[in-house]
């Protein structure tokens, strides 16, 4: 499978997991990001993901290659949804196979964190009250919030952080 890919349709982790199997692997770790029904105190009804695919594919592949190099894992991959998603849908999948569990967890964590920070993917939330907004883009100036792994965007340094739905 490709190291990094987008899908317009439902993600199928079982398929991706099979592609990571390897006789030398002693284990596999995966992370699934799901669409949650609330964010920042607002009830969310659905999400839209949009990507600048030409650049996103390159950056995503770089991240997966970095994870393999850095943690010495056997195989790794990431698939991200685009399009309209409902509550409970799988938005992103990351999988890593490796000799031992520690590096599998670490590489998995690295990939999802870097994807959230670096890959040009945008998320629009639609709320129960009828409003909608692009996460990280539209309320930055008026909102401050702690986030467990910093802001979603390196070049973006207003006081606010963390509009993303936290997956971890």
């Amino acid at each position: 499978m490709k190291a990094f890919a987008f899908s317009q349709t439902h993600l199928v982790p079982d398929q991706y997991r099979a592609a990571l199997s390897d006789p030398a692997a002693g284990g596999y770790a995966a992370f699934e990001g799901w669409v949650r029904n609330h964010n920042e105190g607002l009830a969310v009804t659905r999400l839209e993901y949009e990507a600048f695919e030409a650049l996103a594919n390159k950056e995503g592949e770089r991240i997966v290659a970095e994870a393999i190099e850095r943690y010495g894992v056997i195989k790794a991959a990431c698939v991200h949804r685009i399009g309209t998603l409902a509550i409970g849908d799988l938005a992103v999948w990351v999988g890593v196979s490796s000799r031992h569990r520690a590096e599998a967890f670490a590489a998995c964590r690295y990939i999802i964190d870097e994807v959230k920070h670096r890959v040009p993917i945008w998320k629009k939330e639609h709320y129960v009250n009828g409003d909608s907004g692009w996460v990280n883009c539209e309320r930055c100036a008026t909102h401050a919030h702690d986030h467990d792994h910093g802001h979603e965007h390196e070049g973006h340094r207003p006081p606010a952080t963390g509009y993303g739905q936290k997956k971890d």
Partner: protein, 306 residues
């Protein structure tokens, strides 16, 4: 009135069914693919050069490293590539080149460019075989756009018939064999043998490294008066605020930073450049990089994957 700038388009979207190999990947001129050779050849005459691909070819190994224009009507053949180019950059003329013309030389191409008639729909060579226009080594002016779209909409797809029925400047070929194309494995072998004998000098130098592709436009061919035509694509919140997903504009902005300020005023963008990143031709770029004629620029709002 000056002529619209000339951009280059290598047609590389064919199925190569008779060759049973990808014609774009064949090698006639040393180790470089025919696609790269054609791309370099066009880059010598054009302000910017692109490769025409079908949607499913965007990431293939032969084509992925080039600036691309993706067919909007895949399956319609070469005219789909030409119409996509005319739509993407509506203010420029396109020097269109098929990638299966191994005997083409820089001299033949220059002859065409020097005799271009921008008042006509196209400037093309007359085939040395049947006297009809050769659409796939020709200059298509911006004025061709509406009639090409109408032609496609009426279900027709033959670019040659289109030119036969259009106001075209027709030239005699300086070299009768220059546009002989190569469609089968036998013809490929024969063409390689002919070229190896050396009776046709290579048409272009050996500029092959990928770095030269990152910035396609060549400084000496930039449009005058410092204006350049750039294409801007918008995503997410910027797409909504601009009310469009892309636009092509002539600008005096020298850097992405200047360009963003210009567009921010025009579209009333709320984000400042310090909140964005920028990409040129699908690579992350510095804000103070020099913009070149034909660049595609994307301003990247704060991302939110995962």
């Amino acid at each position: 009135m000056s002529s619209p700038p000339l951009f280059g388009l290598v047609l590389a979207g064919g199925a190569s069914t008779r060759m049973q190999r990808d014609k774009a990947a064949l090698e006639y001129h040393g180790q470089q693919s025919q696609l790269r050779w054609a791309f370099n050849l066009l880059s010598d005459s054009c302000a910017a050069t692109f490769v025409s691909v079908r949607p499913d070819q965007r990431n293939d190994a032969t084509r992925a490293s080039f600036p691309q224009i993706v067919d909007r009507e895949p399956g319609a053949g070469p005219i789909a590539g030409i119409s996509a180019a005319l739509l993407e950059h509506p203010k420029v003329a396109w020097l269109v080149l098929a990638c299966d013309l191994p005997f083409l030389t820089a001299a033949t191409l220059n002859h065409l460019v020097e005799r271009r008639d921008p008042q006509r729909v196209a400037t093309a060579y007359r085939s040395s075989h049947d006297g009809l226009p050769e659409p796939l080594c020709a200059i298509w002016e911006p004025a061709a756009r509406e009639s090409v779209l109408a032609y496609l909409a009426s279900g027709k797809q033959c670019p040659r018939k289109f030119l036969i029925n259009s106001d075209v400047a027709l030239l005699d070929l300086p070299d009768a064999r220059a546009l002989d194309n190569v469609n089968t494995a036998d013809e490929y072998g024969a063409a390689q043998a002919t070229l190896a004998v050396g009776d046709r000098p290579p048409a272009t130098g050996d500029r092959t490294d990928s770095a030269s592709l990152a910035r396609v436009p060549r400084p000496e061919t930039r449009a005058p008066a410092a204006t350049r035509t750039v294409r801007v694509q918008y995503y997410a919140v910027l797409r909504e605020q601009a009310g469009r997903s892309e636009e092509t504009l002539d600008t005096n902005a020298a850097t992405p930073a200047d360009l963003y300020e210009e567009l921010r005023r025009r579209h009333d963008f709320r984000l400042t450049s310090s909140q964005l990143k920028v990409a040129i031709n699908a690579n992350f770029s510095e804000w103070q990089a020099r913009l070149a004629h034909g660049d595609t620029v994307v301003f990247i709002p704060p991302v939110a994957g995962g």
